[in-house]
């Protein structure tokens, strides 16, 4: 298997503080309404407790990316050295086909540039030996950058409940599911 960097989302640790999303915004200063990383609360049907659980998600840097396959102007490419899917904005003509086609909603439309854009996995930071902004900022280590080839995925989930399953795309993200809180009741009171 070729090297594939991935986000490991530890939903058991995530407390929904949005620091990862803010760090992404601070790093790239996207236009208003353009969000590369989102923090999704899990629905009550999936996590039935008063406490909430969250998935922090951005581009999943799929093995077989739809955005890359559908782009008519070849504005996307997948890096050989680490599997990161890069969008070359200078090639983009703003047709919106990637935005319509990605089932994870990763590419976003920049209304000022009239082009698409998405999470770059901070490949410039990675090339400089740094972590992605979201990974570096998380106060509880709930989002990590891992190499799927080296990563021990025991006990982890590829397609978590609440995350669309598209095996043909093979998104690289991995999840640790949130544990349900234990309710302790004292008998006889």
């Amino acid at each position: 298997m070729a090297k594939q960097l991935a986000f490991f989302v530890d939903s058991d640790k995530c407390m929904g503080c949005f620091t990862c999303a803010m760090a992404c915004k601070n790093q790239y200063h996207q236009e208003k309404g353009v969000i590369w990383r989102r923090v999704y609360p899990l629905a009550e049907e999936i996590y039935p407790h008063r406490e909430r659980a969250f998935y922090s998600l951005a581009c999943n840097h799929c093995e077989n990316p739809t955005c890359l396959n559908v782009c008519p102007v070849k504005a996307y490419y997948k890096r050989d050295q680490d599997g990161i899917v890069v969008h070359e904005q200078e090639k983009c003509i703003g047709c919106g086909n990637c935005i319509r086609s990605c089932p994870y909603g990763a590419p976003q439309y920049n209304p000022v540039l009239k082009k698409a854009e998405k999470c770059s996995f901070c490949w410039q930071r990675i090339d400089a030996g740094l972590s992605p902004a979201c990974v570096q900022s998380c106060p509880v280590d709930a989002i990590q950058m891992v190499d799927l080839d080296q990563f021990d995925a025991t006990g982890l989930v590829h397609y978590a409940p609440g995350f669309p399953k598209f095996p043909a795309l093979n998104p690289s993200v991995r999840f640790r599911l949130p544990k349900l809180p234990v309710v302790v009741r004292r008998e006889g009171i």
Binding site: R38, Y40, P41, L42, A43, E45, I46, Y55, L57, T66, N69, V70, C71, P72, V73, K74, K91, C92, I93, G94, C95, G96, N97, R100, S101, C102, P103, Y104, G105, Y109, L113, K114, K115, P161, G162, F163, P164, K165, F166, A168, L169
Partner: protein, 266 residues
Amino acid sequence: MNSYETPLVLFTVFSQLSVGMVAVNAVRSFVGPESQPQKIRSEWLVVGAALLAGMIASVFHLGHPAGMARTLAHLGSAWLSREALSTGVFLGLVVVGIVLMRDKTNRGLIVLTALVGLLALFCMGMTYSPPSFPAINNVLPFVFFIVTAALLGSSVGLSFAPASKKPLVSSIFTISLIVGLVVYLIVPCIWLSGGEVMRQTGQSWIASPLYWARIIVGLALPLAVIWTTKKSPGWLWVLVLAGELMGRAVFFASTVHTATNIGGIY
């Protein structure tokens, strides 16, 4: 998340109108020569004008229209590139048809143009069936587009068909209306029994006033007129075109994207 995508509504409907007209013309060409040579050129001019209008509209959905020519760069895997190429070839053949067929038809050219047009329709069907929309990540967009081509091609084509061939074109029109009515009434109901996002799409279509306006104006009303008058009046294409435009707006605006339900049950 979705929008009406007006440029794409106009592009798909008008290009499918022109493909439908050529396809109906091809069917007509197998049942004898055309007896109204004065209408041949005007029919092909309408085909060309509709296609050109659709292609001009499609430019407006690009953030950078100047890059339009580069859409042919990814023929290896992008259906949008293939759609652009096949539609461009179709336009070229239509122009050849307009130039060559002044008072006499050329069956070979008509059939070739119709086949290329159907190929363009297939490419459109593939372009608009991405994995992000489970309800239409299948053959349905192609079916919808074929129905549009048959409805518009036959209803507009009625005005150009010689009297001897009007019953044939009228039959194609009536059958297309019945098929369209069945398809558009049944498909959203089937979606209701699908997965969560597919079910939401079914609900969204059924709750859309445009969906019902399209059923009534574009399908039921023309069928009722044909049923009661036992004729296909030449003006019915106006109702059909209005219905198709409304239906395509529903297609783009009310089909639910998977990403809208992340964190929920799929």
